[in-house]
């Protein structure tokens, strides 16, 4: 299989990018894929704590770029899943320590090493974001069903189009089915109507996500929760499998009937 470099971006901060990266990476690794995650948020690193690997950092991405270590030395192996690795961001430097071409070079080297490179993009649309999209074969845009997140996602999609990064997928995170049902939250179809890009995943709002990040255990690792199922489905879809979208309404009410209808019963 040829290696795929997938960047996870959002524009707005706090929509769940880092959690998405950690959980999709775990799900891919559980499917037997070799996965290397890169924290692209230099100066504000967080993927390490969400993955529970913060105590094992020796080198980071800036050390790699500036030649203080070999790429392999900066790859932290996740002991729970031997095929999962993290290259952390530097915490005491800023985004200008790395350039888009540095990221392309690093990722080209990683293509020899693994099946998937997942890059956690910083919030915003400046240098840090540009660094992370430069090497991307595919960009996943994470949004929440909420006005500011959708607006920022649209800006990101516009920039990606202008850069010719046309392989894009949308993850709608933190959907609250009962709020959608009573008409107080944008539905999946509303968001798709507005953003008009391909849907890759719908992740319901789930308290377990915070419990998981408290412990440094991405929910997919021990999860039977609906959010972890949603991330596993995303991993399946990335691998090219057709997986139906989660039925988020246990009572099979109007909302789920409508979404099923809109999805063409997929």
């Amino acid at each position: 299989m040829t290696t795929k470099v997938v960047t996870i971006a959002s524009g707005k901060g706090g929509v769940g990018k880092t959690t998405a990266v950690a959980n999709i990476a775990v799900a891919l690794a559980q499917d037997g894929q070799k996965v290397i995650c890169i924290d692209g948020d230099i100066g504000l690193r967080n993927l390490d704590v969400v993955m529970g690997l913060e105590n094992r950092i020796v080198y980071d991405i800036v050390d790699v770029v500036e030649g203080r270590c070999r790429l392999r030395q900066a790859m932290i192996r996740d002991k729970r899943l031997p095929e999962l690795f993290l290259i952390p961001a530097a915490q005491t430097r800023d985004k200008n320590a790395v350039s888009p071409s540095d990221m392309v070079r690093v990722c080209d080297e990683l293509r020899q090493e693994c099946d998937w490179v997942l890059i956690d993009s910083p919030a915003g649309i400046e240098r840090g974001f540009r660094n992370t999209i430069a090497p991307a074969d595919k960009v996943l845009i994470v949004t929440n069903p909420e006005v500011s997140a959708v607006r920022d996602a649209d800006r990101v999609i516009g920039i990606l189009e202008a850069e010719g990064k046309n392989d894009q997928g949308l993850i709608i995170n933190r959907l609250n089915p009962s709020m959608v049902k009573r008409g107080d939250m944008l539905s999946v179809d509303d968001v798709l109507d507005l953003l008009a890009i391909e849907l890759v995943g719908i992740v319901p709002e789930d308290e377990n996500v915070i419990v998981g990040s408290n412990r440094g255990t991405p929910i997919v690792l021990d999860g039977k929760s609906r959010a972890s199922q949603a991330f596993m489905n995303i991993s399946q879809r990335l691998q090219g499998h057709k997986v139906p979208f989660l039925d988020l309404d246990e009572h099979d009410g109007l909302w789920s009937k409508l979404t099923k209808f809109a999805r063409g019963g997929e």
Partner: protein, 88 residues
Amino acid sequence: MDFLNRVMGHKPKSAKNAKDRLQLVLINDRTDITPAVLDALQAELIEVISRHVDIDPSMVRIDVEHEGRSQRLIADIPLRSVPRRRAG
């Protein structure tokens, strides 16, 4: 539906609100066409077209519509009906 809601004293659902507002905001974000630009465009179009054709300026509508991720400028310019003279 809106009418019914108003009669019943219901506020429109906030999700509908969000979608309507986003639809307008995204068009501005994507095209840089602000309502002011649209107004200027409309005034100039009316002026040019009126030089050649009889139109009712108050009926002219100019809008940006979107289909997927592409937008188009739609101008709706009804012609003033000219009473046709009957032969004989």
